[in-house]
Amino acid sequence: MSGLSIDERLRRLEDERDILQTLYLYGHSLDDGREDVFMDCWTPDAALLWPDRAPIRGHAALRDAFRAHSHAPLAWHNGEPARPGQGLARMSSALRLRLRAPPFTGTSHAVK
């Protein structure tokens, strides 16, 4: 990759990794009903064009659309000891800020 320093090439790999993680979090959060994680995937003025719907623009509209969408029950859980307070939202934040956060348990919700 001519013309780029090692630092720039590394930054490009990191950027690509971070972009992919945001793409992945869209699906995880929409499927699981993690509203804060979903909202954190978007810029404040982001546009989302779901087919056969009016264009969705901005956080308020995105939040409304998220709430109108179906989600999994928050009880998909098969026995792993839960650690309340360590959820996907924490993971997302740690990822975005590149903090070395405590591990999450995936679902910190009680089995219904």
């Binding site: 590394l10 990191e14 992945y24 098969n78 996907l88 990822l95 591990p103 995936g106």
Partner: protein, 164 residues
Amino acid sequence: VASLEARVLLLEDEQAILDTLYGYGHGLDYGLEDAWIDCWTPDAILDWPGRALMQGHDALRQGFRSHTHAPDVFHKHIVIDPVLTIDGDRASVLSMFARLDRYPGGPRIRAFGRYRDTLVRCPDGRWRISSRYPDIESIRTEAPLGAEPFPDSPQARRALGGAA
């Protein structure tokens, strides 16, 4: 700002974790017993729905041998959209999965859900799974060609939309 070396190490760790996640499906689907066992720490936990909890290499090996593999039965354990959090020598990974199987008339998705994994960096440098808890979110009831139907369990009944 992290040093250049620290940033490279983080990328290497992430790639190594992905390699182990991918090794699970390749090993299980194609009968690569040693490679599959090498994905796990010696005291690792695997909680396949409808089966007794497996812990440790002996139990994992028995689980592996009770599972179908190619070329007797073809299936694919596909891991999707892994989201990683690395904390020193420990990592948490949330990913989606789908299992493809052969049915009369062609391939179908037998099940989908997600994996909740913990991996650790082992003394030899490899990242291995220390626990895997699959959440089954949807299953087909009929058995694929050459394989058993999905074992009954509260989670399987929930995945079918019924009461657990």
